[in-house]
């Protein structure tokens, strides 16, 4: 027996695009939840970061990441949840290099969450973008939607040569073939800290009590982690920095990772950017991009660079 639908005057009826917009608006209220319990946030100070890469290995050790081997890395199946980007600009002797650690940005309006047909990825009460391995059916949709390229797909069930498997942490699930995975902000550590707080009779986790493996290992102290809901926390103070920016901020994904600009003298404007890199561009062509003769675009600094067509 169908329930009688309430009559709505056609004039008041919303069009389908309007209704989608409403739904999205409801979703895009920061948090989806009324308010996040915690708002876990990471601040990465690019002026401290010296690109040593200890964060990437710490992540492998903490989260049971598989090693895939040379040929697999060659076809873009590297499993690192945290990658260290290095960007080179200029021509000898005026060369500038910049480093950028990129992990899941835990966007408050995450494109990946919209795409998943089985709700394997959703936003939890702490403002974390979480991945439920048991739900994942491996449609790869989320990885396609993610503008940061931080989602990693298990193309195989990876094995560890005995006794390497003895190192595997029992606190993190071992993933199988066909599962999507990504940075979890070390959710097991967050849970552990919450448990400790509870055991101590405290309601909340103190600032500085929890850090993901990457932030813990960072020698330069570039990675800070904490609760943005707490106005006194280190990340809250750093988030107010005039150097702050979000990666691909124009996409309005509301990332929970905040970067602080590196202090660096900009490369001199007219420097011939293309010629210095010409030889290296041959590889890019091999990787399936249209690099070599692509049209030059003007970037925000006003200097000419090449569009790789990615």
């Amino acid at each position: 027996m169908s329930k009688k639908t309430k009559y709505i005057d056609p004039a008041d009826r919303k069009t389908i695009p309007e209704r989608i917009k409403d739904q999205l608006a409801a979703y895009r209220v920061p948090g989806y939840y009324e308010k996040f319990d915690y708002h876990w946030t990471m601040v990465i100070d690019l002026d401290r970061c010296n690109g040593c890469g200890s964060c990437t290995t710490a992540c492998y050790a903490e989260n049971n990441l598989p090693v895939v081997g040379k040929s697999e890395v060659g076809i873009g199946r590297h499993m690192g949840w945290l990658r260290l980007e290095r960007y080179v600009e200029g021509e000898y002797p005026d060369v500038k290099v910049r480093f950028l650690p990129v992990m899941c940005q835990h966007c408050d309006s995450a494109p990946c969450e919209l795409g998943c047909p089985v709700y394997a990825t959703y936003h939890n009460q702490d403002g974390l973008n979480v991945q439920v391995y048991n739900r994942c059916v491996g449609t790869y949709t989320c990885a396609t939607y993610c503008p940061y390229d931080v989602r990693r797909f298990n193309w195989y069930t990876y094995k560890w040569d005995t006794p390497l498997e003895q190192q595997l942490s029992p606190e993190v699930t071992i993933r199988e073939m066909g599962i999507m995975e990504k940075c979890s902000f070390c959710i097991q550590r967050i849970r552990g800290a919450k448990d400790t707080a509870k055991d101590d009779g405290r309601r909340r986790v103190k600032d500085g009590e929890v850090s993901p493996a990457c932030g813990q290992s960072c020698p330069t102290g570039a990675i800070s982690f904490g609760d943005l809901n707490d106005p006194k926390s280190r990340v809250s103070i750093l988030a107010k920095s005039k150097r702050r920016y979000n990666l691909l901020g124009d996409l309005n994904t509301r990332p929970s990772v905040i970067y602080l600009r590196r202090v660096q003298e900009p490369l001199h404007a007219s420097a011939g950017h293309e010629t210095g890199m010409a030889a290296a561009h041959n590889t890019i062509a091999e990787h399936g991009s249209t690099a070599d003769t692509a049209h030059a675009i003007k970037d925000t600094h006003g200097k000419k660079t090449q569009d790789g067509g990615h």
Binding site: S54, T56, T57, A58, K70, P93, T220, M277, N282, D299
Partner: protein, 762 residues
């Protein structure tokens, strides 16, 4: 019992049994039971981690670590936040120590050689038989009156293990103990002896400096104490609160290293000319009257030859740049000059390090906060083995080729891999009639031995380390076993003791320590009794020992005391370079300078057997699972070499083939190859991967300090073809490219704008 509790216990039981069976199969520790958690060990609660404080031995830095142990297995290593050297941080190599512990190619028990030397074919034997054989050979040697023909080549050990080995050798009657590792900063130490009167490496207070001038010191990846110095770097940039000015970094090196990539200015001086550049800066400081110390006249006369114009020509650095550096260095207080492996790896590398100290003296940085802090005398006095001239490998090579080496112990070091082939190290080892290795892996050196005695990794062993450099004060770090030995391996200390005992007589009497653990504790008791600060920190020795294990070591609570030292004109005048360093090979057939450098992941090659480190994208190039040669785009274009092409690199001492990587930040007249790959042994992960650049270097050991001159040859390049995509010889990078394409992922702010907004108050 409630039903829920019952189920809980059943669950725990099942987990326990499984783990127990697995453990029994692999390790069978004494007294292993089928259900080990029926009465669980005191410090073990299933599911709750126990953290053991210890010391990392993945390189020479000696960082304090915490090992997370769950159900008897090491799961994660983290930096010890209490430790004054690394302050909680830990590098990629330190993290990967776990993959040495649980490496699939570890030696599982004692072995006897069954193939040719170097073949790596061995048959297992029992510990009894192995120790009996080795002790028998050693006893035979000393009975024949040839005790002085025993040689020991060990890794560099600053703790009681090194002392025990030294005692073993002197009790046995041999003076032939060499501590050898590829990177021991020998030129740096020697120059310290010349200039400030101590060969102990000083503490470089990067944290508090405002102007850091680095001559090829890649402290972000491998130099000296990468984690500790990187911590200082982070603090120099953005630490210290709102009022603190941001420190500036200027890096001088022909090939931009990871540290160079972080510099505000990269100065690509001509290879070998860095010492000249340093002295030209020094002369400029004097000429412009920036120097405030005594003896200005004498210094001026001494440095007169290093004129701005001629130095600019020799170093390929603009005269204005030299003047600017001189001004900034002298006028910024505090400032600091450091010189790294790239500087001391030329022929006569001592002169470069001496020049660095002259600069520090002229800028008034020695003994100043934010400058060079002289470390106090070591808590554990270094023995004769630490004297630089005793550490020369030529001593062994020459002796052996002259027939004066009858037996050789190789303890935890890999000279065959790290010493250039032209040294005849292989022939020297082949000449020795009996070679025994204390090793964790069959590497190139242990593969040359007749008997292999497998040793514990540092996660399974007792020990200690007296960190060098200290942090302006002495730091002692304790090593304790976090896990039971995974295989049938023994502590290195226990092996020395067992070998001494098995020989009987006086040697056995002297080595009545029982176990290395007891020896260690006894020695620490001596230290505790003789050191006032230690004695004051705890009431009884037991209390002190417990705290030692809990904190991971002992260090004074005080802040470092500053000790001023003057560098005198007389002490340095014989160490000034007359011209830029020379390179082997003539310019016409070998047009390029070859630089080799320790890679971030592999260091001196010991990281190559870790899957994590193989798949660790190189920090500057993102290359994984292999080696490469870095070529300037212009040079590559001229030679028609493209990214990923296989090229042959030839020097007068040999040639290797490896893929090319086009590297924008290297001089066009220079190529660079990372050290670490190209193993012929060392397990399935490392073996036959990439090429070892050390093979094609000339063997030049500094006569005074004993440091190998790695950057001392020219090379030529030729294209050989192209390896199949994804094959073992191809170039694979974890990142498709290094360009932003104007998308502004890494936003920057200019120093001028930053000066307006200042640091955050955190």
């Amino acid at each position: 019992m409630k039903r829920r509790d019952f189920l809980k216990y059943i669950g725990a039981g099942v987990v326990g049994t499984g783990a127990g069976l697995a453990a029994a199969k692999i390790a069978s520790p004494p007294g292993a039971k089928l259900i080990p958690y029926l009465i669980p060990p005191k410090d073990m609660i299933p599911g709750v981690a126990t953290w053991y404080a210890s010391v990392c031995r993945q390189c020479g830095a000696g960082c304090g670590i915490l090992v997370k142990v769950l159900e008897g297995r090491a799961k994660k290593v983290e930096g010890n936040p209490l430790h004054p050297v690394n302050k909680g941080g830990l590098c990629a190599r330190g993290q990967s120590g776990l993959q040495a512990l649980y490496n699939p190619d570890r030696i599982v028990g004692p072995m006897k050689r069954s193939g040719d030397r170097g073949s790596g074919r061995y048959t297992p034997i029992s510990w009894d038989e192995a120790l009996k054989t080795v002790a028998g050979k050693l006893k035979g040697l000393s009975d024949d009156g040839n005790a002085d023909k025993l040689w020991l080549v060990s890794s560099s050990e600053r703790g009681h293990l090194g002392k025990l080995a030294e005692e073993f050798m002197s009790a046995y009657g041999s003076k032939n103990h060499i501590e050898y590792d590829l990177f021991q900063n020998k030129n740096l130490k020697y120059a310290g002896g010349v200039t400030v009167g101590t060969e102990d490496v000083p503490f470089y207070d990067i944290e508090n400096t405002k102007y850091l001038l680095s001559f090829g010191a890649d402290f972000a990846s491998t130099w000296l104490s990468p984690v500790g110095l990187s911590h200082g770097y982070g603090q120099m940039r953005q630490g210290g609160g709102k009022k603190s000015k941001r420190g500036v970094l200027v890096q001088v090196e022909p090939r931009m290293s990871l540290t160079g990539a972080n510099a505000d200015k990269w100065v690509p001086a001509r290879p070998g000319s860095e010492a000249i550049l340093a002295l030209a800066i020094a002369r400029e400081i004097l000429a412009k009257g920036y120097y405030r110390g005594s003896n200005a006249g004498a210094w001026k006369t001494l440095l007169a030859p290093y004129k701005l114009a001629s130095a600019s020509k020799a170093t390929d650095v603009a005269a204005e740049t030299i003047s600017k550096i001189a001004y900034d260095l002298a006028k910024t207080t505090p400032s600091l000059v450091i010189g790294g492996d790239a500087l001391s790896s030329y022929k006569d590398g001592i002169s470069g390090q001496v020049a660095v100290n002259i600069l520090n003296h002229l800028a008034g940085n020695i003994g100043r906060k934010g400058g060079v802090l002289i470390n106090p005398e070591r808590l554990l006095k270094a023995g004769k083995r630490a004297i630089l001239k005793n550490q020369k490998m030529t001593r062994f090579i020459d002796a052996s080729l002259a027939g004066n080496a009858k037996a050789l112990i190789i303890d935890n070091t890999n000279p065959v891999f790290t010493i250039p082939k032209s040294s005849k190290i292989m022939q020297a080892i082949r000449e020795v009639s009996f070679v025994v290795s204390f090793a964790t892996f069959i590497d190139e050196s242990s593969a040359m031995s007749d008997i292999i005695l497998p040793t514990n990794t540092f996660y399974e062993d007792w020990g200690d380390d007296f960190t060098e450099p200290g942090v302006g004060m002495g730091v002692a770090t304790i090593m304790q076993p976090a896990v039971a030995p995974v295989f049938k391996t023994k502590s290195r200390g226990d092996i020395y003791i067992a070998l001494a005992k098995a020989q009987g007589g006086k040697l056995a009497d002297k080595f009545d320590h029982g176990t290395f653990n007891k020896y260690l504790k006894k020695s620490w008791k001596k230290l505790y009794n003789s050191n006032k600060a230690m004695a004051n920190s705890a009431l009884t020795f037991t209390d002190f020992w417990n705290r030692l294990l809990e904190n991971g070591g002992w260090w004074p609570k005080s802040t470092p005391r500053t000790r001023t030292r003057n560098v005198s004109v007389a002490s340095v005048k014989n160490y000034l370079p007359k011209a830029a360093a020379k390179f082997e090979g003539d310019k016409s057939s070998y047009p390029l300078n070859l630089l080799v450098y320790p890679s971030t992941g592999m260091y001196d090659g010991r990281g190559a057997n870790s899957p994590w480190l193989q798949e660790f994208p190189d920090t500057m190039t993102a290359v994984v699972w292999g080696s490469w040669v870095e070529i300037n785009p212009k040079t590559a274009e001229k030679l028609k070499i493209k990214e990923g092409d296989t090229v042959s690199v030839s020097t007068p001492s040999g040639s290797i083939e490896l893929p090319a990587h086009i590297y924008a930040a290297i001089r066009p007249d220079t190529i660079a190859i990372p050290i670490g790959q190209g193993h012929t042994q060392y397990g399935r992960i490392a073996k036959d991967r990439g090429a070892n650049p050390l093979e094609i270097l000339p063997f030049i050991e500094d006569k005074k300090s004993g440091e190998l001159a790695l950057n001392s040859t020219r090379a030529s390049l030729s294209r050989k073809g192209r390896a199949k995509k994804g094959s073992d010889d191809s170039l694979v990078r974890a990142a498709a490219n290094n360009f932003e394409y104007g998308r502004d992922y890494t936003k920057i702010i200019s120093p001028a704008e930053f000066a307006k907004i200042g640091k955050e108050d955190v």
